[in-house]
Structure formats: C-alpha cells, structure tokens
Symmetry: none
C-alpha cells in the first residue's frame, strides 16, 4: 500500500505549509490515512521524520550541483550554470525547497542539526566552485580582478536570495529573472 511513502509525502506537504511546530503527528497520520503509532514504527519520532525529509531534499539538491559540468568553454559559463541550476531546482522541487527555506533559519543556531551541517556542506561546495571559477577567470584574463573571497560571498548571497525570493514570495512571476541575473553578473565580471 505504500503507507510509508504516503506518510512521508503528507509530512513534506504539511511541514512545508505549516512549519515543523505547526504540524502535529496526529495531523500527519490522519491526512496520510494511517494511525499515529505507525510514524513510530517507521521513524524514531517526529524529528527523525523531519530530518529524513530534509536529508532527502539536501541530497537531491546536492546531486543537482554535483552533476554540473566541470569542463566548460569558459569560466563564466560555470557561474551561469550554477545560477540556472539553482533556479531550476527551486522550480522543480518547490515544496522541499520551501520547506528548507522556511524551517532551517530557525535551526541553524544548533550547529549539529541537519539544517546546519548540510547547509554548511552546500555553502562549502558553492565556495569552492565559485572561488575556483573566479581565480581561473582572473588568471586567464576572462574576469576583472575582483577580490575573490568577498565576491564569492556576494554571489552566494545573490543566488540564495533568488531561491528564497522564488520559493517564499511568489517569484515565479519573474520568469526572465534568471537570465537577467546571469547578464547582470556577466557585465560585472567579464572584461570588455
């Protein structure tokens, strides 16, 4: 019957709509058409169900990042790819991204929480990826000589800010935003 799957999907929906604290185990079980104790048969408790979902979302997002091509015509294409990929993720897995965006901010004070550790993982990946791009691009004369560390920070803020905007505010109205963002960055970074 796939009751476990049902349980998870219902939980994703409710957590995304109402937040962790705003969702009760009773509500999840009822809307999933099962009884409460079943949650405790499949998971250690509410929190584990939650982190299971989060890990799933982080896994998929990370997979998307890691499948970005490492060989490209030039360095800016990599940055363009990253912007496009992140926006595409926000469009294709909206509930899970929304869940992360609305639930994690309140949890990052706890450095051991899934939200913190996985977020850090993504940010570190971002940093390496972008720092590498910028350094190579500057060295090759493709980019202007920007301070790498801070520019990486600004780019991450922008990418993250756009995901946030799209998943929390209904940013889907701005369909061309990602192309405009790419062009915005290109003008700023590329020489000539």
């Amino acid at each position: 019957m796939g009751k476990k799957k049902n349980l998870i999907e219902t939980a994703v929906r409710l957590f995304a709509e109402q937040g962790y604290d705003g969702t009760t185990t009773l509500q999840i079980s009822r809307e999933a058409g099962v009884t409460e104790p079943l949650i405790y048969y499949h998971f250690r408790g509410k929190e584990e169900l939650f982190t299971h979902i989060l890990n799933d979302a982080f896994d998929e997002y990370m997979t998307r990042l890691e499948s970005l091509p490492t060989k490209t015509a030039d360095e800016f294409t990599k940055i363009e790819n990253l912007i496009m990929a992140s926006q595409q993720a926000a469009a294709e897995m909206p509930r899970r991204i929304r869940l992360v965006m609305s639930s994690c901010p309140a949890r990052i004070k706890d450095a051991d929480h899934v939200c913190s550790s996985r977020m850090r993982g993504i940010f570190d990946w971002y940093k390496n990826y972008l720092a590498d791009c910028l350094e190579r691009g500057i060295a090759s004369g493709e980019f202007v000589a920007v301070p790498v560390r801070e520019t990486v920070y600004v780019l991450i803020s922008m990418i993250n800010g756009m995901i946030r905007q799209q998943s929390l505010m209904n940013g889907s109205r701005y369909k061309d935003a990602k192309d405009v963002a790419v062009a915005f960055c290109r003008r700023s970074l590329r020489i000539s």
Copy 2:
C-alpha cells in the same frame, strides 16, 4: 522599574535565539525577572508580544530606509546608499533582524500576518526606489539599458540575501563584502 521594557527585551533575545515556538511564556517571564501573568497584563498574549516586537523592528528598518537622501549626485549613489543602509541595519540591530529573518519565513503563508504585510510594505518600497533609480539612470545614460522589472528583482534578492547571510550565517567575517557588492553592481550597471 521598567518591567515592561525588560519583558520586551528579554522576549526579543529569546525569540531571536530560540524561535517563537521554542520560547515559552514562562521562560520569558523568568528571565525577565517578572511573573508570567504580567505578559498578559501588558499584551493580549504571546502572539501579541511577538507581533509587537516584529512591528517595532519593521518600524525601525523602514525609518532607516525612508531617511535615505532623495537627492544625490547620480543614480548609482542611491543604489549604493541602499546596499550600505541595509547592511548597516543588519549590523546595528542584529537580534531584531535575525528574529525577522528566522521567524517570518514560516509565517508568510498567512497573508494577514504582520510578517507578510510589513514585508510586502518593505518590498514595495524597494521596488519603487530601485525602479526609479534604474529608469532615471537609463534615461540619463548613466546606466546600461537593463530590463527594469527583472533587474529590480535581482537587486532585491541580492540585498535581501546579504542581510540573511549576515544575520543567520555569521557573515560578519566578510567586512568588505558590502563594498565589494557595491563595486559589483557598479561595474554591471554603469556605462564605461
């Protein structure tokens, strides 16, 4: 004795550190050195105490935005001012900004909540301010001809993303980030 003030300041701290649901009225009152019912003497309940604090934070942020100069040497200076002001706010009222950044995402599904209405107010202000800058700058030949609506969206995402980064991740390590962000935008927007 200022017990009310004490109550509010304690609540700001605890809500910012632990979130709304993670903070109990008992804890607030104890740490403020008063009894629980005093909360209910001054406010209608926990939620009203919370929204009082949020309104306060939004008021101060809005005041900062509205005190930005309307007459400047050129249009880009306005954009620069906005970036600097938002980063300065995040640095000068860190707990209140952190509170908004971590508590509001879970509440914007409720269109009538303080988080939603005040956030909308700020975004509208941003939009008008930035659209005006860009239109004038493009008209005067100061800026390249970017699509206004989308570029505004990208700029807001960036500004918001940076505030978020600074208040939730400890972005304070990147002291020069705001100057780098300004330079990033200037290169992208200004002609020659």
Copy 3:
C-alpha cells in the same frame, strides 16, 4: 457619583445574565466604569459582593411575605394572597429572582451559604404560614381534611415551580396563570 451603587447594579445584571462563575471581577468593574480594586474597597471580595446582592434580594422577598395580611375573611384568601404575592415578586424584581433561581441550586449543598440559610428561612416561613392556614381551615370546615404536612409540601412545590417557570422560561406569556392556579387550589381545598 454613586460608584458603589453602580457597581452593585452592574453586578446584579451580570450575575443574573451569566451566573457567578461566568462573570469576572474585571468585567463587572469595566461595565460599571470603575477599576477592579474598587470592588475590594467596598467588599471583601467577589463572593461578598455576590452574597450582598443575594441578601438584598432575600430581604426584599421576605419583606413582601411578611407584609401579607394576617387577618383575612377566610383561610383560603391567605393562600390566594401567597400565590399572588410570589408571582408579583417574580414580575417586579425579575433580575434578582432570576439570579437566585439560577445561582442558588448549585450552592445549596453548602449548608452555610447564604443561599441555603435564607432559602431555609423562606421555606420555614412558607411552612408555618401554610400549615397554619390548612389546620385552621380544616378545623373550621372550610377545607377538606387533607394531610397537612404533605399538602404544604405540594403547595410550596407549586408556588416555587411557578416562580421558576416565570423567571427562567419566559412564563410571562401566561398572564392568567396565577388566577388559574388560585382557582385550581380553591377547587381542591374548599368544601362544596
């Protein structure tokens, strides 16, 4: 300004409408246009305010009973007078009677409460009054030979039941009820 009187009158109204437990001291004070502590200046507390009102109501009712004529043409007239007087009281002091009728039942388990003691007082008066009537009436041949104790009990139940009906259900629609009740008793008690 008569704030005390105001307080009492407001309390009568609210207690009658909402019951003792359903009425808060805050509500009484607000609707009376004063502040809560004033209640404690004039009365020892909420309960004393309540018993003050009850005592007042019992006093007035008792006064009405005691002013019934002791010399009448015959014994039945006394019974008639009692029925008429009780119904008239229910009509003329409706809120206070209603208050007693709705608040006292829950309190008679406490034998020391005003409700119990004053009620007992009234019942004893009823018993003496009616037993006297019946004994004399039977002795003189005016009444049939009914068992006095039980008939007194039945008469009290009827009188009380009619007051209750009138003050709780809207028995005021039955304007002729008291005359019918009198006739009902007359046919039952009087000879020929």
Copy 4:
C-alpha cells in the same frame, strides 16, 4: 477495564455535587483513577463530557415519559401516571436529575445549549400530553371546564417544582407527597 465508563460516572458524581465550574478536569481524572488527557481522548473537552452526561440523562428521562401508557381507563389516570413517573425518575436517577436541576438554570439563556433544547423538548412533550388529557377529559365530562393552556402551565410548574424540591432540598422525607399531589389534582379537576 472500562476506564471511559469510570470517567463518566465519576464526572456525573462530581458535577452533581460541585457543579460544572466547581469541578476540575484534574479532579475528575484523579478520582476516576486515570490521567487527565484521557478525557481529551474520549471527549473533545470538559464541556463535551458535560453535555454527553446531560444528553444521557435527558435521554433516559424522555424514555421514561414515552413509555407511559397511552390507553388508560380515564384521562386523570394519565395525569396520575405522569406525576408518579416524574417522581419515580427523581428517586431512581437522583444524581443525574440533581445535576440537571442545578446546572441547567444557569445555561438556559443560551438557546442552543443542550440544557435549553432538551428542556424545551421535554416541556413540549408535557404540554401536548397534558393538553390532550385535559381537552379529552373536559369533553367527556370527566373534568371541570378549566382553561387548558393555563392549567397545563400550572400542572407543569407543580410537577417540575416537586422534582426540584425532591432532588435539591431533601424532599425524600415526604414519602407520601406524590400520592397527596395526585389526590390534590384529582379533587381539583374531576367532577363530583
């Protein structure tokens, strides 16, 4: 183990002894030997537990009324049956009757409450039953020509008043009262 039954019986006893507001959910659960949340597992809350009990009591009382014989030797027998049945109910289900008698008066201002609607149901039944008796009895020459509507009102007041007297005051001392009441009515209504 019948914990639910235990809960209900304990609640009946406590509500009858102390009233609704004077009884706490904690007290009910403790005296029933269960924990407080069990109340909320079986009922939506304290009020629903209360109305459940009231409905039960009204159901049983109504059942007793409806099982009265419709065919009798004469019309007065029906009246006699009603008086006897009501007094018997008060004797056989004393706690539930007492609960209704002491709790409902404070609730009839709320026309939608169980107390109001069920009380109305019983009164309507009384009215039909008694009006029918009287009309037939008058038509057949069994009864004197009394005004039906008002006499019904008087009879209901008497029956109700006697139940009240018996359940709130300790009217059980007057064992022959019901026979005396029947005789009282017979003398008043029957011809010759």
